[in-house]
Symmetry: C2
Subunit: 343 residues, 2 copies
């Protein structure tokens, strides 16, 4: 049981050969006699020796190319699709993808970034967490150290490649549609604090209200969250004390929240879309599999991943400075059965 990590030297010493020989058996050169090989192998086993990948790598530039991808939540099909897109494009271009999840921890975002850089990935795609006291130092650090970077959620105050959508316009479109259907009493179930997209979507709802001369009350933006349960709880709480004065339509931060809302409405005896219309965001796969298929704003999830990857690998291979670029992808309102004119 070695206290310190064994090195190739320890193995050489223990097996009574030179480090060159140990290296030879490590690399399966056929040049080692079976007897020596055995002794070396035994020593390796006894010392529980692990060749240091770091040291091996340098001379052997065979190491596969790879990009790091940092996303927010593992439990959200939205990100699953983004990841899929990244992997898809990366594979086409001959790169592997290593994924890290920050799970709302800003600290984790910093450390995962450092880790991936230390692991020598060729570039990084990050979906940054956002909040008031966001410290972008790790992102600047990255730029400083010349690691190619693409952000997949816009952030102000940093020069970097970005791929994003226009959430404000997308949310406005959703509200426009509901107003067009005749709705006047619309409530928005908003996303989490750390989400820039959530902020933008709320802003879009706000602007649509103004455009249609609707008044937005205190309670018209509910702080829900990003998960099924968040939507469910928020809706249960919201409708508990609103017997008479109900909205006729609800827009949600994302589809997960919408599905949670749907469940709450069902349990409260409210029919969708007859009593209440519901609109989601993202268009995750399951949205069209519900018994009342969900009207939602489709995010080009895979395309976001693909484009980000292409930009990233582009600047990896340019090997020189490339001016940061911002790509804005299209969203699309997908109308299904969860919306209808108010009764």
């Amino acid at each position: 049981m070695p206290s310190k990590n064994a090195t190739i030297h320890d193995v050489a010493t223990l097996s009574g050969v030179s480090i060159g020989t140990v290296s030879a058996v490590l690399n399966r050169k056929g040049t080692v006699s079976e007897g020596t090989r055995r002794r070396v192998l035994d020593a390796i086993s006894e010392l529980h020796y692990r060749p240091s990948a770091a040291a091996r790598r340098r001379l052997q530039p065979t190491t596969a190319k790879s990009v790091g991808l940092i996303v927010k939540e593992v439990n959200n099909p939205y990100f699953a699709d983004v990841i899929f897109g990244v992997q898809d494009a990366a594979r086409e271009l001959g790169y592997h993808v290593l994924v890290g999840h920050t799970e709302r921890s800003y600290d984790l975002e910093q450390r995962l970034t450092e880790l991936l850089v230390a692991k020598d990935v060729d570039g990084l795609i990050i979906n940054p967490l956002l909040n008031e006291d966001t410290d972008l130092s790790h992102l600047f650090e990255i730029r400083w150290t010349n690691v190619p970077l693409v952000l997949i959620e816009s952030i102000r105050g940093i020069q970097a490649n970005m791929v994003d959508v226009d959430n404000v316009a997308a949310a406005m479109e959703a509200v426009d549609y509901l107003v067009g259907l005749g709705h006047r009493r619309i409530v928005h179930f908003g996303g989490p604090q750390y989400s820039g997209h959530s902020e933008e979507r709320i802003e879009g709802v706000r602007r649509a209200f103004i455009a249609h001369r609707l008044v937005m009350g205190e309670d018209d933006v509910v702080h829900a969250g990003a998960s099924l349960e968040d939507g469910y709880r928020a809706a249960l709480g919201y409708f508990r004390d609103r017997e008479g004065d109900r909205p006729t339509a609800i827009t949600c931060y994302n589809d997960l929240v919408a599905i949670g809302v749907l469940r709450a409405l069902r349990e409260l005896g409210l029919r969708v879309p007859e009593d209440v219309s519901v609109v989601g965001f993202d268009d995750i796969d399951v949205a069209s599999y519900l018994s009342v298929p969900l009207t939602t704003v489709r995010m080009p999830r895979r395309e976001i991943g693909r484009r980000a990857t292409q930009m990233l690998i582009g600047s990896v291979e340019a090997a020189g400075k490339v001016a940061p670029e911002k790509v804005v992808l299209e969203t699309e309102l997908v109308v299904r059965a969860s919306t209808a004119p108010p009764a």
Copy 2:
């Protein structure tokens, strides 16, 4: 635009200082004069120099500890929860997690394994792909090289740590339950080829049939797949030509397939559970959010991740050989509204 990757030497040469000085500015020692610092920084920028993380690492063993996790599909909430469990346990123990997805590509599994080893993770958790011509060489390679390993799907013929459940028993329990309800005509919508769990679940169904003296016809195991769409398509195809002779109950490889089946049944005008009972597998979160909440076999998803991680880090820190261990976790049949006695 340098053709070759610049090294610290190039930076030193261009800025007219020694490599020691460059190293000092790289590491923010306060010992460099502002003028020199500027020149070095300029050179770094001009050469687009990236310090080689590989070379840096060796002396500076500050690198955070990390484990690699290789799973099959990104688009499956089952894995999202496993990943969550891994991350959770890893964080508690002071490790980071890097995730790779193989997306049914056996080749990718091999290469991701190599990549993660090359990146010097402290240990590896793998959910291996399975099929006839599965070549386990990368797994042996890993053992050989003394990288701690935990498998989260049982595989024969390899000595390794494993965390798994008893799928055969779990599937039997599901069928037992349906038979207890009075069902005699049960069909199983099976999973993909590459899944060991799928095989085992089919085997469980088979054994339950035998135990209850039910005959299993040719068509009673439908080859569906692992996704929403797989379930949907398979069910549509299956029921198309079976107007009269319908099963009264369906068990599915997983919840995604079950949700797909549910949609197909709805579109075919069949009611659940009145006309057909449906049982899923996994108990992903959304299962209880459906308008007809899904009866399903709960997999201890997070716990699988947690236990695997604890075993892994245990053997990482034991630093010596530890005898491989196999942990079998419990499943549980969760009865909801998608099952009922046959009409």
